[in-house]
Symmetry: C2
Subunit: 316 residues, 2 copies
Amino acid sequence: MITAHDVEAAAGRLAGVIVRTPLLQNDELDRIAGGRVWLKPEMLQSIGSFKIRGAYNLCSGGVVAWSSGNHAQGVALAGRLLGIPATIVMPADAPAAKRSNTLRLGGDVVTYDRFREDREAIARAIAGDRGAAIVPSFEHPHIIAGQGTVGLEIAEQSLVLNDPPDRVLIPCGGGGLASGSVLALADRLPGVEVLTVEPEHYDDTARSLQSGERVRLSSPPASICDALLTDAPGRMTLGILRDHGVRGLAVTEAEVRRAVRFAFSRLKLVVEPGGAVALAAVLAGKAGTGGKTTAVVLSGGNVDPDRFASIQAELT
Amino acid sequence: MITAHDVEAAAGRLAGVIVRTPLLQNDELDRIAGGRVWLKPEMLQSIGSFKIRGAYNLCSGGVVAWSSGNHAQGVALAGRLLGIPATIVMPADAPAAKRSNTLRLGGDVVTYDRFREDREAIARAIAGDRGAAIVPSFEHPHIIAGQGTVGLEIAEQSLVLNDPPDRVLIPCGGGGLASGSVLALADRLPGVEVLTVEPEHYDDTARSLQSGERVRLSSPPASICDALLTDAPGRMTLGILRDHGVRGLAVTEAEVRRAVRFAFSRLKLVVEPGGAVALAAVLAGKAGTGGKTTAVVLSGGNVDPDRFASIQAELT
């Protein structure tokens, strides 16, 4: 419920942004009215009316998202670049690096219990309270188009290098990156084959693509690939993947760990487990790379030092 | 439907905002794969993953509103202040000054035929296409709270002047300004009486407050008060007004014209017809001002010169 407190909060946001119009008085008007009349002349606002008060108060309400970590940082940085406040609902057990980076980017982090609470309901309540807009992590045309710029760059850059890929392997959670990328890739590189890669037990996209139906997983076991733990693809993202004949691969935890180690020791790149699944498919010989050119997306590197160290320790 | 074109548009928005990560190659990886492998290392983005691409693309999608004019300018200015694009759906016959001011503030104006087209449907289609957020003109908690800062200022300023109003008269269209203001006024000035003022034939709020039901007008005649031509109050705004015992007044076109002339000749203020209805109620003796202190909101001054001239010409 909206109260006088909300109006005071709005006044705080508007301070320094709009004119505080004066109270005016006029003797003739007082005489006609037979009493004192205070006039509040809102036409003196720069736009000639009071309407900037509400519009600014709503538009400056910012954005709200829910995310285990990488989307959280994306939304926090987008908010900072655009000068709008960003609130992110994160699980209490999200990787510490992802949480601290989100805070460092100026995001307002609200934590919840992943096993007991509904992050979407929490985000929607915050959106209502603050007049903030919800930024979904994959199921939105502009999210899909934005993530798809990865695929567009792969097409453009590989054409400049005169060695375009026959296949492109893309890590897949909800499918925003994969569906956006396949749109651009199919446009620029006709005949290119795109494959999604998921952790085993979290292969909802691969199963959905195979069965033709949107598969929802029930109670999959824990996984180190925290960035990819969706239980079902989006309707929009799955539709795009299906329309472009995308197939899905899955890799084991051991294969993922090997890829994280390979990236560290050979490529000198820090890759988080979820970001290494496509590389894992190549290293495991699951990607049909022989005699072909393959492009592999390494989608992120936000991994806590202790987890990274324990994966590297397996080398010995 | 989302296409490769949307991805290219996203790439345009992202140019200069994010890193264009390179395509990397590694001999050992090529050897293991038995072919060429291009790596797209998205952990090299400043946030350590690709997620800024979608988040920025969505958040920079801006806002969209529909308005006959004053809210249009409010949204355009809020967008400019916040650095986000603003699209406003305006009737083709909106006052020229309101339209040109909206364009001057950087708003993207889309016009529609008021008698044949549905402005809300047009705005929702644009919001879908551009990933923009809709900014309603009154029925939203943050719009109400923002407009209510007018009431908050009246309370604060009149207390400093040691002459707080017994009554406050507020021009009323959808009720955002009135409902927000009464929240702050009732909190700061217990016992204050708040009255909405509407043009005759557009007294949907007055009738709704009197009957206790939300009244919707059918085919009211034309009015010079273009800023106040709503056919029903909002559910949220009406609820607030009712809960605070607000009553509604109505004024005739002749009374409004007289108030516009009075503001010009005596107050040296340019008031548009819709912004002058509360002053009109005082001048017409409808506001019970005798022996009391009354605060009057003059809500806007955006009137076309020819209309203003024709109203002033009636003096002679």
